[in-house]
């Protein structure tokens, strides 16, 4: 009798274990998670993002008996993971990240040379190019919009928009967006070389003028009002971005700016990365749609980088000779800050070791952050 009781309980316990509930998909996803962690630690690809996402994938793909009512899964209401995931599903982590980005970002390069904003706008064509491709493949307009935002190269924006337009695709979109952001150094240089001549790569740009403190303070206030009046649906992202920047620039809230740019951003990045990773459960993630999303994300990145570079070339046709822009900064119109600006700089130095493009490239780079948030607001306004 006692042995039956013992065996019965052990059998029930076995049924709860991961070994009893494992499926092939779980192991595939565990391998993906381990690959991300390997990329982050060994290859130093966006470790701040890929370590939390990779470990989140491991957490989310430990199999368990969902009918046992353990309330541990990320999709089980009331579970700890589900509560943490609310920041993703309800879309309030991304604005907090934007607050930190605003507090970290120096918009001086953009204020000093405002025409660089247009490069940030041109690169958003990647989003809408991918939107057209996604529609052609057969996605619904709202799904296509959510996928296409990967082209903005902005993880928080991609999560924010997909949580509103296509929550079921959010895991794949987020992982795709962050993966390609990590791969920016691999994807962008060949495109930049392809669309530029050697002469263009050697263009030297005038050093930017000094920007006064007053201009730096006015920028977030006017920027927020102007952009949000046009696209109120981008208010959570742009409002927080410019608010964070005002904290940084006003000079009287140094403590708040430090918290927003360090502790708060770190906390939210940890939670966001981990929960996004955990949301990629095999049953939700391993679908043919995910492959299409990765393909479309890749397309979006290529189109965005190309359109940025090509726009500079066209823009140069109307600019005076002494104000020409080096098209190598065109790729920085995507909002992978500061990665894509660094690529512009490195490639510029490759062709002219004394031609530093970093500060020039930071202009379109931060304009890309604003541009992608505006584009997300437009898609949300049209499709939500």
């Amino acid at each position: 009798m006692f042995s039956d009781f013992l065996l019965n309980n052990l059998r029930q316990f076995w049924e709860l274990t991961g070994f009893a509930n494992a499926e092939v998909g779980n192991f595939v996803m565990l391998a993906v998670g381990l690959f991300f962690i390997w990329l982050a630690i060994k290859k130093n690809f966006e470790p701040m993002l890929l370590v939390p996402i990779g470990f989140g994938i491991l957490i989310g793909n430990v199999p368990f008996n969902t009918s046992a009512g353990l309330e541990v899964g990320i999709y089980e209401e009331g579970s700890v993971l589900n509560i943490l995931y609310n920041g993703v599903s309800a879309g309030w982590y991304p604005p907090l990240i934007f607050l930190g980005i605003g507090a970290m970002t120096d918009f001086s390069a953009l204020i000093a040379n405002p025409k660089l904003m247009l490069i940030g706008a041109a690169a958003q064509f990647g989003i809408f190019g991918a939107y057209m491709v996604a529609l052609a493949i057969g996605f619904e307009p709202d799904q296509a919009g959510a996928i296409a935002i990967i082209g903005g190269a902005d993880g928080p924006t991609a999560i924010f928009l997909s949580s509103k337009l296509a929550p079921n695709l959010m895991g794949a979109i987020a992982v795709s967006a962050y993966s390609y952001m990590a791969l920016v150094p691999v994807i962008q240089p060949p495109i930049m070389r392809l669309f530029t001549t050697k002469k263009e790569r050697l263009i030297r740009m005038k050093p930017a003028r000094a920007v006064s403190q007053n201009e730096k303070i006015i920028f977030p206030i006017v920027g927020m009002l102007l952009t949000c009046f046009v696209v109120p649906s981008a208010l959570p992202l742009l409002g927080m971005l410019f608010f964070g920047n005002l904290l940084r620039e006003c000079g009287v809230t140094t403590r708040l700016a430090k918290t927003a740019s360090n502790a708060l951003t770190d906390i939210v990045t940890i939670l966001l990365g981990m929960t996004v990773g955990a949301s990629t459960q095999a049953s939700q993630f391993l679908t043919p749609q995910t492959i299409f999303i990765f393909f479309l994300g890749f397309m979006a990145f290529i189109i965005a980088s190309s359109s940025g570079v090509l726009f500079v070339k066209i823009f140069n046709l109307v600019l005076p000779k002494d104000k020409k822009i080096n098209p190598l900064i065109g790729n920085a119109g995507v909002s992978a800050v500061p990665m894509s600006a660094r690529i512009s700089n490195n490639l510029g130095l490759e062709y002219d070791p004394s031609n530093y493009l970093l500060m020039h490239a930071m202009g379109p780079n931060v304009a890309g952050v604003i541009g992608s948030a505006v584009a997300a607001g437009v898609l949300l306004g049209f499709l939500a």
Binding site: L110, I111, A112, P114, K115, M117, L118, G120, A121, A122, Q124, F125, I127, F128, G129, Y131, M132, A134, L135, A136, E140, P141, D142, A144, G145, K206, P207, A208, R209, A210, V211, S212, N214, E215, I218, F219, V222, G223, L226, T227, V230, V231, A367, I370, G371, V374, A375, V378, L379, F382, L383, A384
Partner: protein, 306 residues
């Protein structure tokens, strides 16, 4: 300190009252039926007249203490009871009041009846602020409702309860029943390949950033002109026009860097410095935890032999 607390309390109080008012101001009278023979029944199986309210907010609103009336001179005719959790209307949700003049039957039974030609008023909890009103048309018949064409806004129309579109009677539910997101359906139908979306969206993105660009181009010009004017005034010169001011602008980043490097060389500065030179104010607040004297131990006294 007291002044600061009072200011904070005033701001919080103002914000709270403003948010309350904002929430309740978005309540709407949404549909009314005067003679009910076949429509919904109350908890007692009766078919009273009914009034539907709609919360057009995207957050819940509690309507306790608000007033419904048919007489503008008597705005507090029926007070919505307090202490019932059901008076909280969820976001974009509806609630129905039975106008049967039997308030003792429960929270949602008013103290008045309604008839064609009357006006129904919804007042805020102060009994003064009118939030919404509707006049029931004289020609309304039995089992017909008078409803807004869309929830919370749009024109009022008589609905006969037929199967035709937008003619059904919808107590406690949306006045228009949609089975799909019409925006997405429109895009699917009219913009199959996404060209329209691309053109519209890129125009919006470009124009937003272009406006910002022009704005900061202007601000930059004005800012640098003002700073130069101030600079010239401080040097005792009087600028004649802004053009002359612009000509004096020579301090490029490269020049500043060259000056700094020259000074660096001149003062024989070293790469490794033992201290940080800063223009920021350095403030070290005193704390007993960081006080030096607490880190020092007294030298033990040398034992002396007696």
């Amino acid at each position: 300190m007291i002044k600061k607390l009072l200011l904070l309390a005033a701001v919080v109080g103002f914000t709270f009252s403003a948010s309350q008012a904002q929430d309740r101001k978005a309540l709407r009278l949404n549909e009314v039926m005067v003679t009910n023979t076949n429509s919904i029944t109350d908890d007692y199986g009766q078919h009273p007249a009914w009034i539907e309210l709609f919360n057009s907010n995207f957050g819940p609103v509690n309507i306790r203490g608000m007033y419904l009336t048919t007489d503008k001179n008597q705005p507090k005719m029926y007070s919505i009871p307090v202490g019932d959790e059901l008076t909280e209307i969820g976001k974009r949700q509806h609630v129905v009041f039975f106008a049967d003049s039997m308030p003792n039957r429960g929270t949602f039974h008013t103290s008045f009846k309604i008839k064609p030609g009357q006006t129904i008023y919804l007042y805020d909890a102060d009994g003064i602020s009118l939030i919404d009103e509707v006049t029931i048309p004289e020609e309304i018949l039995a089992d017909q409702s008078f409803a807004r064409t869309q929830d919370g806004n749009g024109e009022w129309k008589i609905r006969k309860g037929t199967e035709a579109d937008n003619d059904y009677i919808t107590p406690s539910s949306a006045n228009i029943i949609r089975d799909a997101n019409h925006k997405i359906e429109d895009f699917k139908k009219m913009d199959e390949n996404g060209f329209a979306m691309t053109i519209m969206a890129m125009c919006i993105v470009f124009s937003s950033l272009l406006v910002l660009c022009l704005c900061f181009y202007g601000i930059g010009k004005i800012g640098s002109a003002i700073s130069k004017v101030n600079k010239m005034r401080s040097q005792g010169k009087v600028p004649t026009d802004l053009g002359s001011v612009r000509e004096t602008e020579h301090d490029s980043g490269e020049e500043i860097a060259a000056i700094i490097m020259a000074l660096h060389e001149h003062f024989d500065a070293h790469d490794l410095e033992s201290a940080i030179l800063t223009i920021n104010k350095v403030k070290r607040a005193y704390s007993p935890w960081s006080s030096k004297i607490y880190n020092l131990r007294q030298t033990p006294p040398t034992p002396t032999r007696k």
